[in-house]
C-alpha cells in the first residue's frame, strides 16, 4: 500500500494504491486523520486500490465520520472489485461515491 496526500486550501486529495487491509490501514489512518484537520472537502481516490478489508473500511468510516462534522468526503474512482466489497458491506450507501 502506498498513498499520497495533496492539500489545496481546505481541500485534501488522497490517492491510495494497493491493498488496504489490517496491516496497511493503520499507516494510512495515522497520516490521514491529522491531515483532515481544518479540511472541508476530502477526496479519497481509490483508483489504484485492489483490495479493501474491514480494517480499510474502518479507516474510511473514521474519516467519513470526521468529515461528516466538518464538511464532506467523497470517495472516487472505485474499481469493480472494490465496489463489490462496498456493496456487500453496505458501505456504498454510507459513503459518497463518485
Amino acid at each position: 500500500m502506498k498513498f499520497d496526500m495533496n492539500q489545496e486550501g481546505t481541500r485534501l486529495t488522497v490517492n491510495v494504491e494497493g491493498e488496504l487491509d489490517v496491516r496497511t490501514s493503520p499507516e494510512l489512518e495515522k497520516e490521514l486523520m491529522p491531515a483532515l484537520e481544518g479540511i472541508t472537502e476530502a477526496v479519497i481516490d481509490l483508483k489504484e486500490v485492489t483490495y479493501l478489508s474491514s480494517a480499510g473500511l474502518r479507516t474510511l468510516l473514521s474519516a467519513a465520520k470526521l468529515m461528516d462534522r466538518q464538511g464532506k468526503m467523497v470517495v472516487k474512482n472505485v474499481s469493480d472489485d472494490v465496489m463489490e466489497i462496498l456493496k456487500i458491506t453496505g458501505f456504498d450507501s454510507l459513503l459518497t461515491l463518485e
Binding site: 474502518r58 453496505g90 450507501s93 454510507l94
Partner: protein, 579 residues
Amino acid sequence: MKRRRVGFSLKQKIALMIMAAVLGVSFFIFLISYILYTKKTNTFYEEQLIGVSTMISSYLDQKDIEEWFEGKREITKLGNPDDPDDYYEYDPYRLTHDFLRDVGHYFDIANLSVIRPEGDALRYAMDVWINGYDPNVYSVKESEAQEAELSTHELSPGELETPMKKSRHMKESGVLIGDVRGETVFSRGDSWIQIDYPLLDKGNNKLYGYLEITISYSDELRYISTAGLQMFLLILILAVLFAILPVIFTSRKIVRPIYYLSENATKLIEAKRDSETTETNIFGETEFSSSDEVGVLYRSLTQMEQDMNTYVRDLMKVTADNERVRTELDLATQIQNSQLPHTFPPFPDRNEFSIYASMKPAKSVGGDFYDFYMADDDHLVLVMADVSGKGIPAALYMMISRILIKTHAQKGLSPAEILVNLNDQLSENDSVDMFVTVWLAILNLSTGEGVSVNAGHEDPVIRHAGGDYELVKYRHFPPAGTFAGIRYQERSFRLSPGDSLFVYTDGVPEARRGGDREFYGTDRLLETLNRDREAAPEELIGSVMSELQEFTGDGEQFDDITMMNLQYRGTPDHTPEGT
C-alpha cells in the same frame, strides 16, 4: 573454575617486556660508549704521536741518518783503548736506538723506525722494536704487524724492504724525498695507529725521510671489551632483578585481583544461570579496595551486578505481566467461545431442522460470532456477525452486540427493528470507530418462512432441495455502529423442507493462499459446497474448513473463520402449504 590457558600470562609478558627493554637500553649504551671511546682513543693517540714525533725529530741528526740509510755505522773511539777507565766508544746509532727505545717504552709505543721510500720499497735507517714479539707482553700482535707492514725482526741500517702498500701510500700523499715540504701520514687498523712523520733538512727544509711510529692498543681494546661485557652481564643481572620487582607488583596488584574478580564473575554467571537465584550480591560482598584501574573494574562489576539484579527483576516482572495478560486473553477467548452455542444438536427434541456452526479465531480473541436460539416456541433466530477489529476491544464489542441482539430478539422485535436498535445503541458512542456486520434472520420453523436483514455482511448461500448452493444477492445496509439513524429494511424468504442455508464471515472468501496471495473467493466456496451438496451441516462445514486449509497452505490466517449451516426439514404436521 578451571583457569583458562593463555599463551603467556600477564606476569610473564611484563617480565619479558621489562627484560627486553633493559637489555635493549644497556646494549645501546654499551655500543655508544664503545664507539665514542674508540673515537676518543684515536684522537688521543694521534695527538700523542704528533707530540712524540716532534720531540724525537728534533733530536735526530740528519747527517747520521743519511749515513745509516747508506748502511754506514760510524763508531768513534775516544781516549786510551788500553785503559778501560779512559776509553769510550762513541756510537750515535746505539745512542739513538737506546733513546728511541726508552721513549717508546715511556709512551707505550710498539715500533719506531726511520725510513725513506725508494720506488716501491722502503729503506731503513733505524728500526726499533720496543717489546719484540712476546704476545704476553704489552705489544703489537703479529696480525697487526702484518697489517701495519712492519718488519718481522729489527732491520739493520741501510736494509731495504718492500712493503708495497706503505710506500705507495706515502707516494699518494704527493710528497717525494727531496721536496721542500713534508706531509704527516696516519694509517690505522682496528687496534693500531701509525704515523709517518716527515723529517726535513734543517737548512733547506727538504724531505729526507720519515719517522714512523706504530702504537698498538689491542690490549686496551681487549680490556674495554672485557669490561664492556662484564658491564653488560651486570646490567643483565640487574635487569632480571628489576624485572622481578614489577612482576611481583603486577602479580600482587593486577594479576591476582583480576584473577580474583574473574573468579567472582564466573560465580556470578553460574548464579545467574541458576534460575532459582535472581538476587545476587557476589561483588557486593567481595572485599576489595583499590583506587587504580583494577579498582575501577571492580566497581564497574559491582555496578553491573546490581544492574543485572534490577534488570532480571524487571524482566521477571514484565514476563509475569505478559504471562498474566496472555492468561487473561486466553480466558477472554474461552469466555467468548463459551458464549457461542457449542452443543450440537442444540435442540435434540426439535426435528424441523439441523444446524451446525464453528468459529476458528485468527489469533487470540476475535471479532466474529455466530448465534442461534429460539425467540419463542416457533421462531429460530440465526445470527452471523463480524466485528471490525481484533483483540479485547473487538471481543467486548462482540459481546455487547450479541447481548443487544438477543435482548431485542427475545422481546419479539423483527430483524429490521433489532438492527435499528442495535445500530443506534452502538452508534451512541461516536468516539469508538468500530462496527459490526450482521446477517440476522428469524425463521418460522413451522412454515419455513423467514425474515432477514443484512447489515454489511457477506451474501448468504442457499440451496433449494435438489438444486445447487447459490449466493443470494440483495441490497446490504451499512454495518451496525457506523452512523446512528440507519433505517434497516428486512426481506422475506422461504425455506422448503430439504433446503439448506449457509452463512459465513469474510474470513472464508478472503482467506489467502500462502504463495500468490490469491483469495479463496465465493466461487471456490460454492464449488466446495456443491461437491458435497447432500452433506449434513457438520460434514459440510468440515469439508469447507479442510478445503480452506489446503488452499491457504502455510499462509497465515489473518481473519476469524466462522461458518453456520442450517438444513430445514419442515414439520410433518405443518406443511408449508398448510398455513
